[in-house]
Symmetry: C2
Subunit: 382 residues, 2 copies
């Protein structure tokens, strides 16, 4: 029966606390390739947010190009991808018409939602319809229709795809959107303020499978076959308990069967809790010292440069939190440091609320410098 | 016999004095398409500087993608292009492996100079070798060789292509470089200071034809078959006397035959000389009022807002020069205005000499504002 891998939100080129994740990303992409080969799938589906930014660094573009070329050359398995809110649809789809003949299908134009990619499988053809990320204005302009919000816009496009279906041919819908009621986490960029970005799952129900992207935690919403694969890596500490992977989907005569295939990161994101002494001791015996660490220190007394100490055993310690630190010095600054959320995170949340977007890389760097300086100053005083 | 069109330096997305030239560019690209159809060529060759910037605006990327898709879909004529010094090779070549099967050959990797694109023509196969723009460091790193300058680097790559040739199969070399002794103009970006960017033509002689890009004026250098097509549009007033076009190349048993096919711009770049009154009079009867104008005013007396007056008849007047303006007021500022080169040009030359590069769009805009303000101030005083 027709089988494919469903993944999304690669965010190639993403920085995590100013550390490039490209190596980590290529590490899990290799595993995706192995799974594709092992399970002899008919396609690899990537549901948007291919890159982390509309203008990704040139090295990132090159790395993705090399991965994809290698994937299709070696496996002869086509790749179908749509653009997400982090991608520039126009940049991503350059030359798309030339590529589709060779197995790379880039669906980045909402005007083409009713034109499926047809894959010939051993069990007959399968149609893949793609709804690239869009906002309501784009849909109004492209179709001259009167859709007022995200939900109406998405429903409009989903209906166009639905109406274009050929009876008897299985149809998969690929979309990058926020289904109402699904669960977000810290590493997704809001599409719109106050939940106005939510769309309903009901118009998607009739497709044989719906491959969603945008949310980084694997989950389904509304029905078992309307599913987010989640990102292949943890992109925030709020995801530290998630099991990342790809979804192996099989379309059978009795409905869809799916399986979550685990991806093993090169460096995991972990949250460790304990006293500094305990974590130092644990770190010395830890076979995964290179993991990205958020350390929650339970010490109640002052500590001398805890970050530098921890980094001796966990070099990729990225955040420190003090959970039991009693404010005894009366300094408001010290109190802020002791809060459970890092300053970094507090500021980013604030910025997101007020500005409705994420910090740029430059702003991130600046914030990082300011916080580092402030911390250094406080440690000197402390 | 095998025939192809040779063009280069499209610089899609270029601004001329802060005016977008995209419409003008699409206008001449259409003519190139007509020529390709009319002459039934086997290929369209574009010798670099496809875009004007390494990160072109998304609309520009979309416009080029649409043109190329339309070109090959309608004519079934393959396109071969290499990256120039204005392009980001890594961005341009994304997905190149997927496109070559469908007729778009993007040669953007110096590691592939010995791998030709093979075109099957009615008279047999032809090989096209591409040398994308590169600096010596890139060649040293890619090949671990010891080339000290632009000339040695280019010669190294040209020899690799030469050695890869198959006896009996005609070979065309495409390169983006500055051949020593050729003539530049104001709209090319220097590759290196003080002429260190020049390369020799001798290592290219054995190819059946050498399709060059970088210089914007059509010309040959060293031998008749080593040729710059020039840009399809005038990109500076220094080019106002050039006849822009594309080259129709035919490879015959007795050598190469070429023909210059003229391109008619939507709006020409012209330099007009005369008194303000004369130019105003001429403008009223001019069928090409929309052309981009540099006006050289021969008036000897003060003029009241000559730019605003001229723009009533030539709305795209972009520069004013005063050629006979006698400095009678004793003001150094007035003297500067009367020089034959515009302030804009003087500053840009200065910047190029000192910084070795062109102004960014933002800097250009700022310069434009400053000059406009200064001019307004002087006109008030005058």
């Amino acid at each position: 029966m027709p089988r494919f891998l469903h993944t999304s939100d690669w965010h190639i080129g993403r920085l995590f606390q100013n550390v490039s994740l490209l190596d980590d990303q290529l590490h899990v992409l290799k595993q995706i390739k192995s799974y594709a080969k092992e399970h002899g799938v008919d396609a690899l589906v990537v549901a948007g947010d291919i890159y982390d930014r509309s203008v990704p660094p040139a090295e990132t573009v090159d790395a993705l190009s090399a991965f994809l070329a290698d994937f299709t050359a070696e496996l002869s398995i086509p790749v179908i991808l749509i653009s997400g809110n982090h991608d520039s649809a126009k940049r991503l789809r350059f030359g798309a018409q030339y590529m589709s003949g060779s197995g790379l299908h880039i669906l980045g134009d909402i005007l083409n939602v009713a034109t499926p990619v047809t894959l010939e499988t051993d069990s007959g053809p399968v149609h893949f319809y793609g709804i690239p990320y869009h906002d309501p204005v784009e849909v109004r302009e492209a179709y001259g229709c009167d859709v007022k919000n995200y939900d109406e816009a998405h429903t409009y496009l989903a209906r166009l795809a639905e109406q274009a279906r050929t009876p008897g041919i299985p149809a998969v819908l690929i979309s990058h959107c926020f289904i109402d009621g699904a669960e977000g986490c810290d590493s997704e960029r809001q599409l719109s303020l106050g939940g106005a970005d939510r769309v309903s799952y009901q118009p998607l129900q009739e497709f044989d499978y719906v491959a969603l992207g945008h949310l980084h935690g694997p989950q389904y919403k509304g029905a078992d076959h309307i599913r987010y694969s989640g990102s292949p890596l943890k992109y925030s500490f709020s995801e530290h308990r998630q099991q990342k992977g790809v979804i192996l989907v099989e379309l059978t005569d009795d409905g869809v069967i799916w399986e979550h295939l685990e991806l093993i990161p090169k460096r995991d994101l972990r949250v460790l809790e304990g006293t500094l002494a305990e974590l130092m001791e644990q770190g010395r015996r830890d076979p995964r010292q290179d993991d990205y660490i958020l350390a929650r220190l339970t010490d109640t007394q002052d500590l001398l440069e805890p970050m530098s100490q921890l980094r001796q055993v966990y070099p990729n310690t990225l955040e420190l939190e003090r959970t039991n630190f009693v404010i005894s010095r009366g300094s408001q600054l010290v109190a802020d440091v002791s809060s459970r959320r890092s300053e970094d995170q507090v500021f980013k949340d604030f910025f997101r609320q007020v500005m409705g977007g994420e910090l740029t890389d430059e702003q991130n760097e600046l914030l990082f410098e300011v916080i580092t300086e402030a911390r250094a100053g406080m440690e000197e005083q402390g």
